[in-house]
């Protein structure tokens, strides 16, 4: 027997899925799970029909409607004719090709990256793809999961494989422990602020270290979700007992003897001692503060007690121009504190922070409090199941009593395709993943932050530090209104 060199989890999953590889060509990589939604799939199904092809593995495919659907009363028809047509086309495509669909009205409906784990479809060691860049979320289970374009959606539908070059690896070690008021979202925003939005290009992040081990599965999903915002197509966390406990008993998780065999197999996945990465960075969790973005990409983030950086401090002319443009769009002054900046809208939801534990965090802050005058707080559960759970736990009552809108599940104001959007010039604190120009509505301005920071800001009416609770109401006096 030959002794194999120490391997990373990425190396292991990769080797398990290479179907074949011609010299000089990318590998033909087998796909275990393909997630489909209404926005990036129609042209792929059209392509299949044009070639007379069929869906090779409908049982390894699952669809939902999430991006363009309204988050208002589901018993009413969709008023946006284009969105309605897109949803109808998804329904027709799934029916024609035998793909299970968790559409509007189905109790399994929800954001594609929330329902995969919830249903137990997302499992360690799998390859998972979806026509959505936040597919990296599923890496939290120790799966190799990444976003693909519509041409690739068509390839996976037709062949259950993809052409891929093997990725480079990037260890993101987070040591220590998070302090109260600091959460998983702050870890990932801190990472991206350090390496920039192109820092992980060509790489897969593997998150390691004691702070990562200490996270729940939902917190791990928040971290992996935004790997793409650091340029990495995928981000992974090796599976452990936390992973297995989360999965056990879920509808599509293995059961009985299959479960034991699966766990034995999953325990072989973690990166071997002595394996090396192409790049590495270390973050000290104890030193992290709540993070907030001030600019127009997720790399433009600062600890919440810091000041907005000045273009004049940027040595690189390109970065100086980019910062000038960002501050002009955001209408912020160089050197101003971000705390106390006025807020019009607060959005709690998305595939980043729309899970039950995120809603519990927000509700914990909002209990027996009320959102500031003039502030709109939208709480949008990540899935229909999350919605039911939150209602059973009484979280929805807390939100409503605090003056929030409690809505139906979907992507909502994260991507602003469905009418849930900012007006030009409005400021939002958002638990979503992108603060690009116009992302949450044309002319809208986004501060990305954690659910704790978002809820605290909703009460204060300004960007507020959740560590100042109780007494967060006094923040309203700091600035804005």
């Amino acid at each position: 027997m030959t002794v194999t060199a120490p391997r990373t989890i990425v190396d292991k999953i990769w080797a398990d899925h290479v179907v074949t590889q011609d010299p000089g060509a990318p590998a033909v990589l087998a796909v275990d799970l393909h997630l489909v939604h209404e926005v990036t799939s129609p042209q792929a199904f059209t392509g299949l029909r044009a070639r007379g092809l069929t869906v090779r593995r409908p049982g390894q495919t699952v669809a939902t409607a999430d991006h363009s659907i309204p988050t208002t009363d589901r018993s009413l028809p969709i008023l946006d004719e284009l969105a309605a047509a897109q949803v109808r086309q998804l329904e027709a495509n799934c029916a024609e090709f035998g793909i299970p669909l968790h559409g509007i009205g189905d109790p399994g409906q929800g954001i594609v990256h929330v329902i995969g784990p919830q249903l137990g479809l997302t499992q360690p060691g799998m390859t998972i793809v979806c026509g959505d860049s936040h597919t990296s979320t599923h890496g939290a289970f120790g799966a190799l999961a990444f976003g693909i374009g519509t041409s690739e959606v068509e390839m996976v539908l037709a062949t259950q494989t993809l052409l891929q070059r093997d990725p480079k690896t990037y260890e993101v070690r987070v040591d220590g422990r998070l302090t109260p008021g600091v959460s998983a979202k702050d870890i990932i925003l801190a990472l991206i602020s350090r390496i920039g939005i192109g820092g992980g290009t060509g790489h897969v992040f593997e998150y390691t270290g004691s702070a990562i081990r200490g996270l729940t599965m939902e917190q791990r999903m928040t971290v992996c979700n935004m790997s793409i915002e650091g340029g990495a197509r995928a981000g992974m966390i090796a599976p452990d007992d936390t992973t297995f406990q989360y999965l056990h008993g879920r509808p599509h998780a293995p059961a009985g003897a299959d479960w034991d065999a699966a766990v034995d197999r999953w325990r072989t996945l973690p990166t071997d001692e002595g394996a090396t990465y192409d790049k590495a960075i270390t973050i000290d969790a104890d030193a992290l503060e709540p993070m907030v973005t001030y600019g127009t990409n997720p790399g433009m983030g600062i600890p919440i007690t810091s000041r907005v950086p000045s273009p004049s401090d940027q040595a690189d002319p390109g970065q100086r121009r980019a910062l000038e443009r960002a501050l002009e769009y955001m209408d912020l002054e160089p050197g101003q504190p971000i705390l106390g900046q006025k807020v019009d809208v607060v959005f709690v939801g998305s595939c980043t922070n729309g899970r039950i534990s995120d809603l519990r965090l927000a509700a914990g802050v909002l209990k027996d409090r009320h959102v500031a005058d003039g502030v709109r707080l939208m709480v949008v559960p990540g899935s229909d199941e999350v919605k039911r759970e939150a209602e059973q736990e009484g979280l929805s009552d807390i939100f409503k009593a605090a003056g929030a809108e409690w809505r139906e599940a979907g992507c909502s104001m994260c991507i602003a395709m469905n009418g849930d959007q900012l007006s030009p010039g409005q400021y939002a604190v958002s638990t979503s993943n992108r603060n690009f120009e116009g992302r949450q509505g044309k002319g809208g301005r986004t501060f990305l932050a954690s659910p704790l920071t978002a809820a605290a800001s909703a009460i204060a009416g300004v960007v507020a530090d959740p560590r100042r609770l109780p007494g967060i109401e006094a923040m309203a006096a700091v600035g804005g209104r």
């Binding site: 129609p42 062949t159 290009t201 443009r325 991507i415 690009f436 044309k442």
Partner: protein, 207 residues
């Protein structure tokens, strides 16, 4: 099934912004289409048009009359960050773009572009700088993009060499697509599947 990518000569459009994300290239509200047509109007929509649909004044660089018909974009670092929407290269391609020059591209955007006959060309920082200077000096400079030779010919007769994945190059030059290639691997895929039973069946328990 795209057209074979042949050598071509064009003037270039400079867009010096860095980290141009796919939400800028095609805003999300234009993703409700179910085909690929008409996306040229959505290209850089919010940089080009006012709320009422009229062109910005002064117009964004793409809308200057002299830019019509140009097939090369010269853009800032890390072009195409963000969403996996293939609508971005569809819109670029439908406007007429065949090649984009930058120091770096986001991974998914680069992949999507290659599948739509749009060539992402990575140049080093000094060359990038030199190209912007050239276009400032000679806005109508003509560049020749030669994929087969992996070179860009400049007006002064010099050539910028570039690297490209050899498989992607072959596919572009032949105008064949990856799906055709994957379909030719049917026997291998079948053998793999026989040895690796699916780990899930999403149809169980679904409505």
């Amino acid at each position: 099934m795209t057209e074979p990518f042949t050598i071509f000569t064009s003037r270039a459009v400079p867009i010096p912004a860095e980290n141009v994300d796919t939400d800028q290239i095609v805003p999300a509200r234009y993703l409700k289409v179910t085909d690929k047509a008409g996306l040229a109007d959505a290209l850089f929509r919010d940089w080009r048009f006012e709320e009422d649909g009229s062109l910005k004044e002064p117009p964004f660089v793409l809308d200057r009359p002299e830019m019509a018909g140009r097939r090369i974009l010269l853009v800032g670092d890390n072009f195409g960050a963000g969403s996996s929407r293939e609508h971005a290269p569809w819109a670029l391609s439908s406007w007429g773009v065949r090649a984009i020059l930058s120091t770096s591209f986001a991974d998914i955007f680069r992949n999507n572009s290659l599948k739509n006959g749009v060539l992402p060309v990575v140049v080093d920082r000094a060359t990038h700088q030199r190209l912007f200077e050239l276009l400032e000096r000679e806005p109508d400079a003509e560049l020749t993009v030669d994929l087969a030779e992996q070179g860009i010919l400049l007006p002064d007769g010099s050539t910028i060499d570039f690297e490209i994945d050899q498989f992607a190059k072959r596919m572009l030059l032949a105008g064949t697509d990856e799906l055709g290639y994957l379909l030719s691997k049917e026997p291998e895929i079948e053998a793999w599947e026989a040895a690796h039973p699916p780990r899930i069946d999403s149809r169980v328990g679904a409505a």
